[in-house]
C-alpha cells in the first residue's frame, strides 16, 4: 500500500469516525406487559316433549283433546324455535285435515287443561296444516304451547293419522338439528244413531238401539265436552229411552243450536263407563218466546 493510499484511507476513517461520533444514539426504551382471556363460540340445539301424551282416540264421548307441547332451546345461543307438522304416509290425511287445532302459549304445562280458555297469541289450523308454534328462547329456556284438537263432523270413523311435529331452533344463520315428536289420532267406529222423537218443541225422546245386554243395565245421556255432563234421569232397557226438555240442557253446554247427546252404559255406582251405545243430535231453539227443543241438527 502506497504512502499516498494510506494517507487517503486514514483521512477517510477519520472523517467517518468524526461524523459518526457526532450524532446521538437513537435506541428508545420500552417495556412490555401481557394479558390473556378466552372466548367460546356457542351452538344450537333443540328438544321437544309432550307429543307422546297426545295419542288419542276420538269418539262420541271423547270429542276433543287438550295437551301441552314443550319446546326447548337446548343450545347455548339464544334463538327462535319454530315448528312444522306433517302426516306420515300411509295414515289418514283426511282425518288430519278434519281435526281442528288451536294452540296458544301458556306459562306451564299445568296451565293447559280442558277447561283452559284459549289465550293470546294463538294459532289455528289442522294437524295437516298448522302454522308454526314460534317462540324466542334464551339458551336453555323452554316454551309451553297448549294445543286443543277437536275433530269436525267430517272426521272419518275408524281412521288413524300419525302426526309428526318437527322443531328447529335458529340463531342467526345457524340452525339446530331437527327434532321430532309424534302421536296418533284415531277415531272410533261410528256409534249407532239414537232414535229421536219430537214432541212439539216441548221435549224430545231419544231411544238407544236394543241389544243383548241385560234389561236391567243402566244407561245415562251425556252432553258437553267429551260427553261428560249427564242430563236427565238414568234409564234401563225396560224403558229404552230418555225424555229431554230444553231446560235440562245446562246453559254452560248450550243455550241454542245443536247439542250432541251420547248414551253411555253406567257402572254399578252410577258413573259412566267408556261404552257408548248410541249418539245423536238435538237442537235448542226459541219457540213462542220460550225455550224449545227438536230432533236433528
Amino acid at each position: 500500500m502506497s504512502r499516498r493510499l494510506r494517507a487517503i484511507l486514514a483521512l477517510l476513517l477519520a472523517l467517518v469516525f468524526v461524523a459518526g461520533g457526532s450524532s446521538a444514539a437513537w435506541a428508545l426504551w420500552s417495556a412490555t406487559g401481557t394479558t390473556a382471556s378466552s372466548v367460546t363460540i356457542g351452538g344450537t340445539g333443540a328438544s321437544l316433549s309432550g307429543t307422546s301424551d297426545m295419542t288419542t282416540t276420538f269418539s262420541s264421548s271423547v270429542t276433543s283433546m287438550t295437551k301441552p307441547i314443550t319446546l326447548t332451546n337446548a343450545g347455548s345461543l339464544a334463538g327462535t324455535a319454530t315448528t312444522t307438522v306433517s302426516v306420515a304416509s300411509g295414515s289418514s290425511t283426511a282425518l288430519a285435515r278434519a281435526v281442528g287445532v288451536v294452540a296458544w302459549p301458556v306459562a306451564s304445562t299445568s296451565a293447559c287443561t280442558t277447561s283452559t280458555a284459549v289465550g293470546t297469541g294463538s294459532v289455528s289450523g289442522t294437524w295437516a296444516s298448522l302454522p308454526s308454534l314460534t317462540s324466542k328462547l334464551a339458551a336453555g329456556a323452554s316454551a309451553v304451547w297448549c294445543t286443543r284438537s277437536t275433530p269436525t263432523s267430517s272426521a272419518p270413523a275408524s281412521a288413524t293419522t300419525n302426526v309428526t311435529v318437527a322443531l328447529t331452533v335458529t340463531a342467526g344463520t345457524w340452525a339446530s338439528d331437527v327434532v321430532q315428536g309424534g302421536f296418533a289420532l284415531n277415531t272410533s267406529a261410528a256409534a249407532p244413531a239414537l232414535t229421536c222423537t219430537d214432541h212439539s218443541g216441548t221435549y224430545v225422546e231419544v231411544a238407544w238401539p236394543t241389544s243383548s245386554r241385560p234389561m236391567d243395565t243402566w244407561y245415562g245421556a251425556f252432553v258437553g265436552p267429551n260427553a261428560s255432563t249427564m242430563v236427565g234421569q238414568k234409564e234401563q232397557d225396560y224403558y229404552g229411552r230418555f225424555t229431554l226438555a230444553p231446560e235440562q240442557i245446562p246453559a254452560n253446554v248450550a243455550t241454542s243450536g245443536p247439542v250432541t247427546v251420547t248414551v253411555k252404559i253406567l257402572d254399578g255406582a252410577g258413573n259412566p263407563t267408556s261404552t257408548v251405545v248410541a249418539s245423536g243430535t238435538i237442537t235448542l231453539f226459541t219457540q213462542n218466546n220460550g225455550k224449545a227443543v227438536r230432533c236433528g241438527a
Binding site: L28, T34, T35, A36, S37, G43, L77, T173
Partner: protein
C-alpha cells in the same frame, strides 16, 4: 633598504546587513510606544464560581398490565360479540406510546373445524375507554383478525404514571360456518410501551 610607507590600506572587508540593527531598534521602540499608548496589560479575564451539588438519575420505562376480564361469560353466535377490559399503567418516569398485539392463540373443542377455520372467523377490536363500564360492543378502534391483531405503534400514549382502560371486543363473523360451533379460543395480548421519540 628603506621602504616607503603605504598610503592606502588593504581592502577592507565589505560591510554587510548594516540595516538590521537600526530596524530592530526601530521596531522595539514602536512596540514599546504602542504599548505605552494603550495602557492595557493584555492579561485575560477569568473568574470562578461553584454550583450547588446535584444528582443525575437515569429515567425508567415500565408498564403494568392488569388481567383481561373473562370474555366467555357470553358465548358467541354468528354476528355476535363479547367484550372484556384490562388496565395498563405507565409505571415508569417517561411518556410511553403503546402498542397492543396478539402474541398467542390456542383453539380447543373445535370438533368440526380446524384451528385456522376458527381463527378465520374471529375478529378483535381494541378501544381505550374511560372506565370498564364504558366498554361495549360497537366501539370504534383498531381491529383485525384475532391471530394477527396488531395496533401498530402509537395506538395511544400514556404519560408517566398515567393509567388507561383497554376495551377488547371479540366478534364472530355473521357468515361464520356452523362447523366452528363449540370452539374455545384462548389468546394473549402483549402491550408494549415505547419511549416517546424525543
Amino acid at each position: 633598504m628603506t621602504s616607503t610607507p603605504r598610503t592606502t590600506g588593504r581592502h577592507r572587508a565589505p560591510r554587510r546587513h548594516r540595516w538590521i540593527w537600526p530596524t530592530v531598534i526601530a521596531l522595539v521602540v514602536a512596540v514599546l510606544t504602542a504599548m505605552l499608548g494603550t495602557g492595557g496589560t493584555y492579561a485575560l479575564w477569568n473568574g470562578t464560581a461553584s454550583t450547588s451539588a446535584s444528582t443525575v438519575r437515569s429515567a425508567t420505562a415500565a408498564i403494568s398490565t392488569g388481567p383481561l376480564t373473562a370474555m366467555n361469560t357470553a358465548v358467541l353466535g354468528p354476528g355476535g360479540g363479547t367484550t372484556g377490559t384490562f388496565t395498563v399503567q405507565n409505571t415508569g418516569s417517561i411518556p410511553l406510546t403503546m402498542r397492543v398485539a396478539t402474541t398467542s392463540t390456542k383453539v380447543s373443542s373445535a370438533t368440526n373445524a380446524t384451528t385456522a377455520a376458527v381463527l378465520g372467523e374471529l375478529s378483535l377490536r381494541l378501544s381505550v375507554v374511560g372506565s370498564a363500564a364504558d366498554c361495549r360492543t360497537g366501539l370504534s378502534g383498531a381491529s383485525g383478525r384475532l391471530a394477527t391483531f396488531d395496533t401498530g405503534s402509537g395506538s395511544f400514549t400514556l404519560a408517566a404514571g398515567a393509567r388507561a382502560v383497554g376495551c377488547v371486543e371479540m366478534d364472530l363473523d355473521a357468515d361464520a360456518p356452523q362447523s366452528v360451533a363449540g370452539a374455545v379460543s384462548d389468546f394473549s395480548l402483549t402491550v408494549t410501551g415505547t419511549q416517546v421519540t424525543p
